[in-house]
């Protein structure tokens, strides 16, 4: 084992990466662009994690004899942080704005709303004497965040309207320990996507590994290296070191880019360190897949295409795409899924680094990486070098 030979090849690889604009783009610029684009589109710059909702309001109880209830409802609604209320005079125009995506929700206060509230307070324990009405709530079905966050917010507004400020401090024998949904309303869509994006950003390393190795093979360079004292394991080690160095830079850039657009994960330095470590372990997976793709590719062009056999499943079943049913079962076989899961646990759920599940995720990624690397090395040595 010669450190000098290995480091000479690492140096060579680094020069090759930095001198090829296309490679540099895919390895470094692409992850930054993906992070910045998704972060700005689904998060919003420097908002400190609070989502804004545009809500339309139509009051059909304007002629009520007891307008204090509708006024209270409107007041409680506008008081909520991040809510912008737009008033409408008719149902059709409100629905139209909602359909066009100009609003996140549309609320219709029914005629008789005030009477309904008054009837409750007149005889709170006699349900038969109540005047029942329904507040209609229409939510933008195209927005995952709006669909999940707005209904509990409106529920909160109705309760506050009915029971006043004491509504949230009522002394009840049963309590909800963790108001998850209300907390979740303060997350942006980017918060949910970010862990997957971090894993996604490094997946394209597979293509670069496959391309560069097939180019070296086709150009006769691997044969030439085979006539020198260089050992196969020194060559492979140089590849792994080179791509892990790239992964370090990638992770740093992606984290820095997301920080700049206002992303603040719910973790500390130890959590960030762990995320760094699991993404580095994931780079082993990508080098392994790259070696396998290079082995089965007859040229660099074919290698680019074949790389997607390994890129697509990892992307669709293990990064930011929603999973369920069969896709969730498939995702258990994707190393990227364990990376996303661990980072989600740290960054979104705010779990400490001592959480057992993230360490088992790291173990799975590391073992998968080493196994895939071993398979890749064996296949590449057998079929691609001599």
């Amino acid at each position: 084992m010669s450190l000098r030979r290995t480091l000479a090849l690492v140096k060579k690889n680094m020069k090759m990466f930095t001198r090829q604009p296309a490679v540099l783009f895919l390895l470094l610029l692409f992850p930054i662009i993906v992070t910045a684009t998704f972060g700005l589109a689904f998060g919003g710059m420097g908002q400190g994690g609070v989502t804004n909702f545009d809500i339309g309001l139509l009051n059909l109880d304007a002629v009520s004899t007891d307008p204090q209830w509708t006024n209270s409802f409107e007041g409680n609604l506008t008081e909520l942080e991040g809510i912008t209320v737009t008033y409408f005079d008719d149902n059709a125009s409100g629905q139209s704005e909602l359909l066009q995506g100009n609003m996140d929700a549309f609320i219709v206060i029914p005629e008789g709303f005030g009477d309904s509230c008054t009837s409750y307070w007149n005889s709170p324990f006699d349900g038969s004497s109540w005047i029942n009405t329904t507040v209609e709530l229409y939510v933008d079905s195209g927005s995952m965040i709006a669909s999940s966050a707005i209904p509990p917010l409106i529920q909160q507004v109705v309760l506050k309207t009915m029971f006043g400020n004491d509504a949230t401090t009522l002394d009840l024998p049963v309590d909800i320990g963790s108001p998850t949904l209300v907390e979740a309303s303060y997350f942006t869509q980017w918060d949910f996507m970010a862990p997957g994006i971090f894993a996604f950003a490094s997946i394209f390393m597979i293509m670069i590994v496959a391309q560069s190795l097939t180019e070296e093979r086709d150009g006769g360079l691997l044969k030439r290296l085979g006539t020198t004292p260089l050992k196969s394991h020194e060559f492979m080690l140089s590849q792994v070191i080179s791509y892990m160095l790239i992964a370090v830079v990638q992770v740093f850039l992606v984290f820095a880019a997301s920080f700049l657009i206002g992303y603040r994960p719910a973790t500390d330095a130890a959590g960030l360190g762990f995320a760094f470590a699991i993404l580095l372990a994931f780079s082993l997976v990508n080098v392994g897949f790259g070696l396998i793709a290079a082995t089965i590719s007859k040229s660099a062009e074919i290698a680019s295409g074949l790389s997607f056999i390994f890129i697509m499943p990892q992307m669709f079943f293990g990064t930011f795409m929603p999973l369920g049913g069969l896709t969730e079962t498939i995702s258990r076989f994707m190393p990227s899924n364990y990376v996303t899961e661990a980072i989600t646990t740290l960054f979104l759920r705010g779990a400490p680094v001592t959480t057992l599940s993230i360490w088992s995720n790291l173990g799975i990624v590391l073992v998968s990486g080493l196994v895939l690397l071993l398979i890749g090395v064996v296949l590449f040595r057998r079929y691609s070098t001599r």
């Binding site: 010669s2 060579k12 090759m16 360079l221």
Partner: protein, 285 residues
């Protein structure tokens, strides 16, 4: 070196017959250890055959090349020249027969062989995005040439081969002749004991070719053993001590260019080849 080896054998025999002389026994040990590193032949090939499925690329080839000898392997395309080079450079394993470089078998002692050879492949293999200098230095690093020696050697060699002004340009921007010169330096930067040069001057302009010829002559004068494959007859006549002509994998003639021309009453090696095979050496190019 050949002579030294004979002396060491003699010393060993003397020491064995006079066991009272401990000093000579010590000399014996030293000589025996030396005999492991100094071989009789730079290259020895015995009954070498290489088949690729139904095609026999090399057919029962036997050859011995001495230290300091510049040996030319001549033949048309597809004659088996490159296959011989690939076997000697440990890239291919023979189907039958043995080949050894400095007494190291190319199959069982491949690691040792790779330490002492320098290979210039027929198709120049180089990193396009590295400069000429970086390509050469990389090969020096792979052979673990001491850093200070490597730096000086690269400078000297670049000057000798006329590349000092272009050494820091990316190799992808080089002309065909420049690439071949860089490829030759990549093969020789480790100061190999045995140089395997597979058509190093093919498609080179006359100036570049002359530069490479001068370079090869200097290598020979430094005691290196060189196998040079070529289909340029004037190159073989100009440079080689001995030549072996192969056709369809078989060695059909062996000797110095002068001997072969005299033996076959020919004016040049091209004519020798025509007389032996009935075809021109460069047919089909």
């Amino acid at each position: 070196m050949h002579e030294e080896y004979t002396k060491s054998e003699f010393a060993a025999q003397t020491a064995l017959t006079d066991k009272k002389n401990l000093g000579i026994i010590y000399v014996l040990c030293v000589c025996l250890s030396m005999s492991n590193t100094i071989s009789k032949h730079a290259i020895k090939i015995e009954n070498l055959t290489k088949r690729f499925e139904k095609v026999t690329a090399v057919d029962d080839l036997s050859l011995e090349i001495g230290w300091g000898e510049l040996f030319g392997l001549l033949g048309p395309n597809g004659a088996g020249k490159t296959t011989v080079i690939n076997i000697l450079s440990t890239l291919l394993e023979p189907t039958n027969g043995v080949a050894a470089v400095a007494d190291h078998d190319v199959v069982f002692g491949a690691d040792e062989v790779r330490k002492i050879i320098g290979v210039c492949p027929q198709e120049p293999a180089f990193y396009q995005h590295l400069t000429g200098r970086e390509n050469i230095e990389l090969m020096g690093d792979l052979h673990e040439v001491p850093k200070d020696v490597l730096k000086d050697r690269v400078e000297t060699m670049l000057k000798k081969i006329g590349l000092e002004d272009d050494a820091d340009r990316r190799a992808g921007q080089y002309s065909g002749g420049m690439i071949r010169r860089v490829s030759t330096l990549m093969a020789l930067i480790s100061d190999p004991k045995v140089a395997l040069l597979d058509e190093p001057t093919v498609a080179m302009d006359p100036v570049s070719r002359r530069a490479v010829w001068d370079f090869i002559r200097e290598l020979k004068s430094n005691g290196k053993s060189i196998i040079l494959t070529t289909h340029y007859m004037e190159e073989a006549e100009e440079l080689c001590d001995r030549v072996g002509i192969i056709d369809q994998g078989k060695l059909i003639a062996l000797g110095s260019p002068k001997e072969l021309m005299e033996e076959h009453h020919a004016e040049d090696l091209e004519e020798v080849f025509i007389k032996l095979t009935g075809k021109k050496l460069r047919e089909g190019f």
